[in-house]
Each structure stands twice: as structure tokens, then as C-alpha cells.
């Protein structure tokens, strides 16, 4: 078939482009899995310790909402699968999204696909290559998980099932990304839409798992967890992601065969011939550039916060009904809910710091897309321009996380009819702000050092996520935990507010911001 002509070359080229980043991602993913296996073996070496873990976690709806059904926790393998799968699946999904877009839509947006197609490649070749390299990476990672588990001495069958479950989610997201890469003409928009899909999957699973369970079956994340490796070992749910992958990939190719190269299915509509006053000011213009991303994140975080708030009511209910779990914590049930909310807020803040970074780095994307010179050759100061974007990033981050706190409170209030917590949770959102600012200021600092270093900021965020996840095992060295700003956020509303770490982080954020701007002022535009 001529449509696929040149796939081999495109695939080899993609492989060459990714020769550095791919091994790094694989080592990261497999290393993460290895960390779980090692930590758990150390922490829960005896059945008694495992039983204690089971008693403290099983049926706790907060835990269920965060990580899925807890039935497998009586065995070490089940505990590892339960704790590692949520993060591993989501990160695989995000990886799949970036990888597919990078090799398909982003290439096309930059006009390089034309060149490829004009030199004899079939029109289906770039997408095929993008999907192949992504599938290859995900499969290698899955083989790695299996190897880690097998070496750790876990049963072969369930180890395979676990690896396939994680793989299956990555593949569903790869297929979904391929579809959105046809629908929209812009890489940024396609990534945004896939981000929403991942977010909604998580939400459906969290709500489904803590409620009746029906919604779980509408979530690809739910499918992965319902395979219940090392516990019920169900193989048939694999059919669902397999079908979904086949469907999305076919749909993507069907769409690709019917659209023009260089544009999406949705054609840009004509707009106004004159600018409105709102963009006739540098800050207004920067705001306009960031507006749609900001709206997307705000909507997502709000819905997420609201849903968690509503689920929170369940949690309280179940805490009140009797179980071994409640007996142990009966007196402290509301504190428990508070610390649950505090940790949820921090998790959202870490995710939200993704927005902070991308927003702070907006000048970097303007610079690398060669648009910055058009602005900076006008009488617009370099520092003023970047500072405007940073201001927007910081204000929007604070707004978003506070709004998420509010959404938590409103969700809880709607479910319980008691809105007394709303103000507290709204205020608790603000406690997360300095850590987000500090993360953003580090990104700005890197951008100031050099354009190429900017993307290291994403590595920092990955490290913060890793630290947050592994810190819960309790066997990370303290100094390592302390490296992440999010380790220093006071767990309000569960504890009383300690301003010291917040002030220190704000001061550090300010220092890095000033240093970043000063470095940027002195460096060449790329």
C-alpha cells in the first residue's frame, strides 16, 4: 500500500531523533517500578506487616479514590501493583501523548512533514512511525516491569498481567492522541485535549471506585486496575483497551486519509480585521496567548476538586459506619478527612505546577518558534516582556489552586449540605501557592541560563512527583525529600498554618525570579 511507503525510514528517523530521550524515559519508568519492588520488600517483609498495611488501608475510600480498589493488599505483589499502577499508568499515558504528537502533529505543524511526503513518503507513514515508536517504547517499558517483578521473585502470570495492564493504558492514550492529532491542527491543542481525556479517565475511575463502580468501566484507567493483578488476576478486561486501541488507531488513519496535510479537520474560522483593545498592550497580548491554556487548566482543576469534594462526603459516611479502620481512627475521623483533603490539594498543586511551568516558559516557546524577535525588535523591553508572562503565570497559578480548594469545599458542601468547611478549604488552597511559585521560578531561572536548559524544568517537576510518591514509603532520605518544595507545604487544614516555610519559599521564588530575569536580560535571543 503506497500510503505506508517510507514508514521504515520515518520510523528509523524517529528512533534516531529519540536516541537520547527514549532510554532516559525507559530507565526512569523501569527504575521507578524497581523502586516500588525494593521498597515494599523492605517495608513489608513479613505477612504481619502486610496485614497491618491491609488493615490500615483496605476499604478506606480516600485511598480507593487515590489509588483504586484495595482488595489485593494482602499479598506483597498485590500491594505493589495497587500502589504503583496509578502513577505508572498516568505517566505512561503522558509519555504516549508527548511521543505521538512529537512525531506526528508537531512535525506537521512545523512544516517538515511536507518535505517528507514530497520525497516519496506515503501520507500514512509519519503517523504509523509515530505510533510504532511509541508502542515500541511502551512495550519495552512493560518488559522492564515484568523483568523487575520476575527478578523480585513474583509469580510469572500476574507479573505479565500487571505489565500488560500498564501497557494497555499507554496504547489507548497513544490511539486517542492519534485521533486528536488529526482533529486539531495544533500540537498544543491536541496535547490539551488528550490531557483532558486522561484527567476524565482518572475522575471516572475515582468516582466509580468509591461509588457504585459503574463509572469505572467507562475509564481506560479503570480497565487497567480492574485486571487486579496478584489478586483476582482477571485477563478478560484486556479486551477493552485492545478494542479501544484498535478503534482509535483505525479512526485516526481513517481521518488522516480524509484531511489535508498541514491542517486539522477543524479549519480555522475567519476573525476580526482589527484588534480589540485588550491585546493592544503587551500584558494584554501575553494574557491572550495564555488564555485558552489557562481556561482549560482551571476548568479541569475545578471539576476535579469538586468531584473529590463530593466523594469526600462518602468518605465521611463510611468512616462513621463501623469497621476495623474506623475503630482505630474513630475519634479522629474529621482530622482524617482534613489530612486527606490536604494531601489531595498538594497533589493537585504538583499537577498545577505543570501549568505554572508551561506558563512561565511561554516566552521560551515564543523564542523557539521564532516569534520573539518580532516583539523584541519593537520598543518592548526584554525583561518587561518576560516579566509579564511570569506575572500571569504566578497570578493564574494562585487563582487556580485557590479555586480548586473552593471547589473541594463546595463539592463537600453540596454533598453534605454543610458549607462550614468551604472557607477553610478555600484558604487551604493558598498554602500551596508558594511551592508552585518556587517551581515556576526555577523554570524561569533555567530559561534565563539558556533556552536549551528550559525543558529541564519538566525533569524537575517529574522529580518532585517522584519524591512525593516515594516519600510515602518513608524510606527516602530526609534531605532528598526536603529538596522538593511540595514537601514543605503545611498540611492545612489538618494542621494549623505554619507561615515560616511559606515565607521562605516565597522569598526563594522571588530570588530565583529576579535571578532568572537578570540572566535572561544578559543572554542572546536564540
Amino acid at each position: 500500500m503506497s500510503g505506508f511507503a517510507g514508514t521504515r525510514e520515518a520510523f528509523l528517523f524517529a528512533l534516531k531523533r529519540d536516541r537520547l530521550i527514549l532510554p532516559v524515559c525507559l530507565v526512569g519508568l523501569i527504575g521507578w517500578m524497581a523502586m516500588y519492588v525494593v521498597s515494599y520488600a523492605g517495608l513489608y517483609g513479613t505477612q504481619a506487616e502486610l496485614n497491618a498495611l491491609y488493615e490500615s488501608v483496605a476499604g478506606n475510600p480516600a485511598m480507593v479514590a487515590m489509588s483504586g480498589p484495595t482488595g489485593g493488599l494482602r499479598s506483597l505483589g498485590g500491594a505493589i501493583a495497587w500502589d504503583s499502577m496509578p502513577a505508572l499508568t498516568i505517566i505512561s499515558g503522558v509519555f504516549a501523548m508527548f511521543s505521538v504528537i512529537r512525531h506526528s502533529r508537531a512535525e506537521e505543524e512545523d512544516g517538515r512533514t511536507d518535505l517528507l511526503l514530497a520525497s516519496g513518503s506515503g501520507r500514512l507513514a509519519p503517523l504509523t512511525a509515530a505510533l510504532l515508536i511509541t508502542a515500541l517504547a511502551l512495550t519495552l517499558a512493560a518488559v522492564g516491569y515484568f523483568a523487575v517483578l520476575a527478578i523480585g521473585g513474583y509469580a510469572i502470570g500476574p507479573s505479565i498481567l500487571f505489565s500488560l495492564a500498564v501497557l494497555s493504558f499507554g496504547l489507548v492514550i497513544a490511539g486517542t492522541t492519534a485521533v486528536f492529532a488529526q482533529v486539531t491542527g495544533k500540537a498544543r491543542a491536541a496535547r490539551g485535549l488528550v490531557g483532558v481525556v486522561i484527567g476524565v479517565s482518572w475522575l471516572l475511575r475515582a468516582v466509580g471506585d468509591t461509588g457504585g463502580g459503574t463509572l469505572t468501566w467507562f475509564s481506560p484507567l479503570g480497565w487497567a486496575q480492574q485486571m487486579k493483578p496478584f489478586w483476582e488476576n482477571l485477563w478478560w478486561p484486556l479486551l477493552l483497551p485492545t478494542a479501544a486501541t484498535a478503534f482509535t488507531v483505525s479512526l485516526a488513519f481513517w481521518l488522516l486519509a480524509r484531511r489535508d496535510i498541514g491542517s486539522g479537520l477543524i479549519q480555522p474560522r475567519p476573525g476580526p480585521p482589527n484588534a480589540s483593545n485588550s491585546i493592544l498592550h503587551p500584558l494584554g497580548f501575553s494574557f491572550r496567548l495564555q488564555r485558552s491554556t489557562m481556561l482549560g487548566w482551571t476548568a479541569m482543576l475545578f471539576v476535579y476538586g469538586f468531584a473529590i469534594g463530593v466523594v469526600g462526603e462518602n468518605i465521611e459516611d463510611i468512616l462513621k459506619s463501623s469497621s476495623a479502620f474506623t475503630e482505630a481512627f474513630a475519634s479522629a475521623s474529621s482530622d482524617l478527612l482534613d489530612s486527606y483533603f490536604a494531601s489531595i490539594l498538594t497533589v493537585i498543586a504538583i499537577l498545577g505546577a505543570g501549568f505554572t511551568i508551561s506558563s512561565v516558559l511561554r516566552p521560551h516557546s515564543e523564542e523557539s518558534r521564532d516569534r520573539a524577535a518580532l516583539l523584541l525588535a519593537a520598543p518592548l523591553g526584554k525583561v518587561r516582556w518576560v516579566a509579564g508572562h511570569v506575572l500571569i503565570a504566578y497570578v493564574a497559578s494562585a487563582f487556580m489552586i485557590a479555586l480548586t480548594g473552593l471547589a473541594l469545599g463546595v463539592g463537600l458542601g453540596v454533598a453534605t449540605g454543610d458549607f462550614s468547611q468551604t472557607g477553610t478549604l478555600f484558604a487551604a488552597g493558598f498554602a500551596q501557592v508558594p511551592a508552585m511559585w518556587l517551581t515556576g521560578s526555577l523554570a524561569l531561572f533555567l530559561f534565563g541560563v539558556s533556552s536549551r536548559l528550559s525543558s529541564v524544568a519538566w525533569g524537575l517537576l517529574a522529580a518532585f512527583i517522584l519524591i512525593w510518591t516515594l516519600a510515602s514509603f518513608g524510606n527516602l532520605p530526609g534531605w532528598l525529600i526536603d529538596l522538593s518544595p511540595f514537601s514543605h507545604v503545611p498540611a492545612v487544614p489538618a494542621v494549623s498554618l505554619d507561615m515560616a516555610p511559606l515565607l521562605v519559599m516565597t522569598a526563594l521564588a522571588l530570588a530565583f525570579t529576579v535571578a532568572g530575569l537578570a540572566l535572561w536580560r544578559r543572554r542572546d535571543l536564540v
Partner: protein, 243 residues
């Protein structure tokens, strides 16, 4: 009156490559100065230094007698710039982009804007992502030409323009200089430059190879033993590079 652009012994290193290696360039007020050289010879690099976007590694560059790196914002009030490869914001229409770029310089004269849009035949309601290369170029050209800058810096401004619009551009340039503005024009279209420019600088490997009026360049070529009558700018260019 002193020179608008004064460059002496300019050096720019990117890592180990010397993009500029002792370049000299003088542009007097009211001149159209043609800036010529093969690909990679350092024209865009020179212009980016003049715009204060990158910092010189050695030598001096003066714009209106001032340091383009340290005094960028003040100097930019007096100049307008069009790059050779215009990248725009995909979601903004051409009209919005022109107005936004104009607003950075304190706003455009609406009559002048309309006149230019008509002459270049640009559809202002299209989103930038839907523009062809030539139309993107027009957006930047209109935004620059509609300003009242003292100095215009053009780096292959008409790449992608059709011959009719190319002619419109030449008319516009002549009108501007008629009003006493100064122009630095880097281009590979030597036929265009030959008609437009008063003086030329030809660079090679980051160094000035020749500079002066067309007559001056001809004299050099003749003294090197070439036929005096048929020497176009193109011939001169080829002669310099075939040495």
C-alpha cells in the same frame, strides 16, 4: 550629521564558529543601503546585533550613535524591522497582528494601514495559521511600513512575495526614502537591489569584502580587468566570489 549605522571590526562567535569576523558597515542618513552576501555569510547575524537581540563578541556597533544592546528599547522607537522568515501567532488574524505590533510602537495611522493593506491585497480576517508564506511576510511588512520609523531594517523582506507585490514593496521603499528615512536592506534579489540601493556592502565569511556605490564597485571590477559596460550588480557579485 553622523551615520545611522556604524559598525567597526564586529565579531560574533557562536561557540567555535565565527559568524562575524571583523565586519565594517556604515550607513548614512537617507540612504538605502544594500547588504549582500552568500548564505551563512553573517547578514542576519549583523542585523540581530543591530537590533540588540544578540550581543557582539568584539568590535563596535553603533545605531544612531548609541549601543544597540544597552539601549535597545529607546533605539527601537526609531526603527522598524522585517525578518526574512515571519512566524506569527496561529490564532490571531492578520489584522489583529498588525494592530498589536503597531501598538507596541504607539499605534499605527489607520489611513496608512488601510492604504498598505489595499496595495498588498492582504485579507486581514484570516488567522495566521491559514496564511501562506507570502501573506505572513505581508503582515510584517505592513506593520513595519505603516510606522513612521527613521530607520527600516529589512532582512530579505520579500522572500515569498509574488512579482506584483515585490513591485509594490519597491514602490513603498522609494516613497519612504523620498521622505528622508534610512533603509538597510539585505536581499538576494540583486536586480531589486540594483535599482533601489544607493550604496552597497558585500560581505563574505563575516567580513566586509567590498563597500561603496555601484560606480565604485564597477571601478574595482574594471581595474581587476573586467569589461566595464555590461557590469550589473549580479556580475559584480559573481566576480567577487569567483576570485
Amino acid at each position: 550629521m553622523s551615520a545611522v549605522i556604524e559598525i567597526e571590526g564586529l565579531v560574533k562567535k557562536f561557540g567555535s564558529t565565527r559568524a562575524l569576523d571583523g565586519l565594517d558597515l556604515i550607513v548614512e542618513p537617507g540612504q538605502i543601503h544594500g547588504f549582500i552576501g552568500p548564505n551563512g555569510s553573517g547578514k542576519s547575524t549583523t542585523i540581530r546585533i543591530l537590533l540588540g537581540l544578540i550581543k557582539a563578541s568584539g568590535g563596535t556597533a553603533r545605531l544612531f550613535g548609541e549601543d544597540p544592546w544597552g539601549r535597545a528599547v529607546e533605539l527601537h522607537r526609531r526603527l522598524a524591522y522585517v525578518p526574512g522568515d515571519v512566524n506569527l501567532w496561529p490564532n490571531l488574524t492578520g489584522g489583529e497582528t498588525i494592530d498589536m505590533l503597531g501598538s507596541l510602537r504607539g499605534g499605527l495611522d489607520p489611513k496608512r494601514r488601510k492604504e498598505l493593506v489595499d496595495r498588498f491585497e492582504l485579507d486581514l480576517t484570516k488567522k495566521a495559521q491559514a496564511y501562506s508564506k507570502g501573506n505572513r511576510q505581508k503582515v510584517a511588512l505592513i506593520a513595519a511600513l505603516a510606522t513612521d520609523a527613521e530607520l527600516f531594517i529589512f532582512d530579505e523582506p520579500t522572500s515569498g512575495l509574488d512579482p506584483l507585490k515585490e513591485a509594490v514593496f519597491q514602490e513603498c521603499v522609494k516613497e519612504i526614502t523620498g521622505k528622508g528615512h534610512t533603509i538597510l536592506l539585505s536581499s538576494h534579489i540583486l536586480g531589486q537591489l540594483e535599482h533601489l540601493a544607493d550604496t552597497f556592502t558585500i560581505i563574505r565569511n563575516g567580513r566586509t569584502a567590498e563597500t561603496g556605490t555601484l560606480e565604485h564597485l564597477r571601478e574595482i571590477a574594471v581595474s581587476a580587468g573586467r569589461d566595464p559596460d555590461s557590469l550589473s550588480l549580479e556580475d559584480l557579485f559573481l566576480a567577487i566570489y569567483s576570485d
